[in-house]
């Protein structure tokens, strides 16, 4: 094994570094000036082949062959220079890959560029109040009237719902068809009279999610991606291109470093807590999992670079992240002691004390739910990873 990236990648690194030195000089720019500078920079970085690598040139991407090592080098160097990378979010992560694979030329033309530029911001319309883990049971209805879909129902848990201009949604359009076969993948303009949005205040006190109510909302017939009734399969399209990333992408290592910092800052028996043998045991016990996660990300990266499948360990990364996050939350709670009685000021404000760890303590609970609950993750590991027989109640899924 060899953790160096090799001569070819290092030559590429030099090239990226030179580009950044020449091109990313924001200096003291602020506000609208900075925004314009960033837009211009992204254009240059795309022309150079560093950004939007999976997107065809026809739609404004740089259309580069998949190369996880180069992608990693780009991430590292842009990170080092604090230069902005692609616009992220649901639109780039989920919708654009789906459009590239299943969209018509007109749909690609209509949506990809505007998503890349940030003009269209997308919310995900999958979950409903009665539809959580059993996602295929969605009930929000779509009826084709003339050349428009008329939509009625409710979607929930949409992140960035305050800023979203559009939504990609799973809508039941074929009520007579099977559970999975009656769903279509529709795009919806959220700025219309038939759509109401409402923030969901979560346990931290913040509102990171929104719910959307559709009351005879309308969307053009041509905004259907894939065939009618094929929405379930369409929604399973994911971006495989250069998806593997090393380590820090998940933030687990960074969070652990902060936990160690916390143990240095707070005291126990009149001394820095980090000198306490019990604290040292607790930290190193957690670190075993942090290291397992980090080196497993190296392993997955290496497999992806070799064009091989990640296998069992791939299906475990989210659950390992979640569970280690919980362990860190408990350790942090122990370290902050009575400061847990203080409500932290909002993130980003000055003067936050050790109680700021309550954000992580509560946030770790969100991780067990978002993107497939912990129990669903265990099902996936057991059924797809270990080959255990499928649960009969879920057997209907194709």
């Amino acid at each position: 094994m060899d953790l160096s990236y090799g001569a070819e990648a290092e030559a590429f690194r030099t090239e990226v570094r030179d580009f950044l030195r020449a091109t990313w000089q924001p200096g003291a720019l602020r506000g609208a000036d900075l925004k314009a500078y960033i837009t211009d920079f992204r254009g240059k970085a795309t022309d150079a082949g560093y950004l939007y690598r999976a997107i065809p040139k026809a739609f404004g991407g740089s259309e580069q062959p998949a190369d996880v090592v180069r992608a990693q080098v780009i991430r590292e160097e842009f990170g080092r220079a604090r230069a902005p990378m692609e616009i992220t979010g649901n639109g780039m992560n989920m919708l654009v890959p789906t459009l590239l694979e299943k969209g018509t030329p007109e749909q690609k033309e209509l949506f990809i560029r505007k998503t890349m530029s940030g003009e269209y911001m997308w919310g995900q319309g999958y979950s409903e109040p009665g539809t959580g883990s059993d996602l295929a049971s969605v009930r929000t209805k779509g009826e084709l009237v003339g050349d428009e879909w008329v939509i009625n129902g409710q979607k929930i848990w949409t992140s960035q719902g305050d800023r979203a201009t559009h939504m990609f949604a799973l809508i039941r359009t074929e009520p007579q068809a099977s559970k999975h076969g009656g769903i279509s993948y529709l795009l919806i303009d959220l700025n219309q009279p038939g759509v109401t949005r409402r923030p969901i205040r979560q346990m931290t006190g913040d509102a990171g999610f929104y719910e959307f109510f559709f009351d005879n909302a309308k969307t053009p017939a041509s905004w259907l991606i894939g065939e009618r009734g094929d929405g379930w399969n369409v929604s399973r399209t994911t971006l495989k291109h250069e998806r593997a990333a090393i380590g820090s992408a998940t933030g687990l290592g960074t969070q652990f470093d902060k936990l160690v910092e916390l143990a240095r800052e707070v005291t126990r028996n009149g001394k820095p807590a980090i000198q306490d043998p019990e604290v040292r045991q607790a930290l190193t016990r957690i670190e075993g999992y942090v290291m397992a996660h980090r080196y497993s990300s190296y392993r997955l990266f290496s497999l992806a670079a070799a064009g091989e499948d990640g296998g069992l360990v791939q299906s475990m990364m989210k659950l390992l992240l979640t569970e280690t996050g919980h362990e860190m939350a408990l350790a942090a709670q122990e370290l902050i002691g009575d400061d847990a009685l203080v409500e932290p000021a909002s993130a980003g404000t000055r003067g936050r004390g050790p109680e700021k760890w309550l954000d992580q303590v509560m946030g770790s609970l969100g991780n067990s739910i978002a993107g497939g609950t912990t129990n669903i993750q265990r099902n996936i590991i057991a059924e797809r990873g270990l080959g255990l027989p499928r649960d009969l109640a879920m057997g209907a899924e194709k």
Binding site: M1, D2, L3, S4, Y5, G6, A9, V69, V260, A263, R264, I274, Q275, P277, R280, Q281, L283, T284, R285, E287, G288, Y289, M291, A292, H293, Y295, S296, Y298, R299, F301, S302, L303, A305, A306, E308, L312, V313, M316, M317, L319, L320, E323, N375, Q377, R378, N379, I381, A382, E383, G385, L386, G387, L388, P389, R390, D391, L392
Partner: protein, 351 residues
Amino acid sequence: MRFHPSEEQLAIQDAVRGTLADVWPKERLEKFVDGEADFDPDSWQALMALGLGGLLLPEDQGGAGLGLLDAAMVAEVAGQAAAPGPIGAQMLAALIVSKSDNQEAKAHLDALTSGEAVATFAFGGAWLPESWDATPESGSVRFVQSAGAANLFVLGTKGGGIALVEAGEGVTIEPVKSSDRSRRLSTVSFSGARAYTLFEAGDPFVARIFDAALVLVAADALGGAQYCVDLSVAYAKEREQFGQPIGRFQALKHQLAQMALEVEPARALVWYAGYAHDADLPDAARAAAMAKAHLADRFVSVARAAVAAHGGIGYTWEYGLNNWFRRSLFDRAYLGSPAVHRARAADLAGW
């Protein structure tokens, strides 16, 4: 950049796995654990015929010139099969002798490489080199594996040196009734034994060898833990209750997923510890300590969960799962507990 096993590494694992499947089937293990012997010559010879004795020895000295990572992959397969014999010690012994300046000791190198001479570790005190307290002249060491069959003892000497001690005169062996019956231990006493000083107390190479030994125990634990997961998953697919395989029930399914989650990501930690050692990275010693602590705990946890996942059959002697449970006790305690190595890791981090 590569961080998954090479074709060659997989081939070595396949060779060791295939050999153990032939010479160390379940019946042989059963017979061994019910007997009194602390060594199995047949399986030993078969493994040594693969060249394991010289695996770490440079090619110009008749070895395979491979690294600790490769040795760890061998130890993993040995752990999976609950193999007997001091395989890890044997792989390291040839390297230790070859790296020493003691020319006389090198007379043993060929026999160590071929496996004709069996070598085992005798690390006394409280496991860590600075606590070693015996010398070939006087002292005794508890918990020496396969001592009855050993021709050579890699003795950890007072203050953290290493001597190669010949079995025979001046060496007395008192078997310990061992909880892990696949790796039986003895107390070995030395009084004026014939010995070669390989490394003086405080030589940095001693710490490096101890770290390597830790990685091999971690790898054994990884293999043992993997066996516990595999056996439990296979059983859950086959065993029926309420008219269906028990592996269909979500409660058990989740237990099994949790067991696999303990083991599979930890594999990369063992690889890293082996790689860091071979590449002589600054964090190699710490990675070894972390790997030993983490894997030993994972093995114990998974072995317990495996008994629970099986139900009654897992608790029987006959089924044999207890042999891996007992190996987990060994891997946890041998060379120092997880708490000992976590304390070291905290020190090494400069906390």
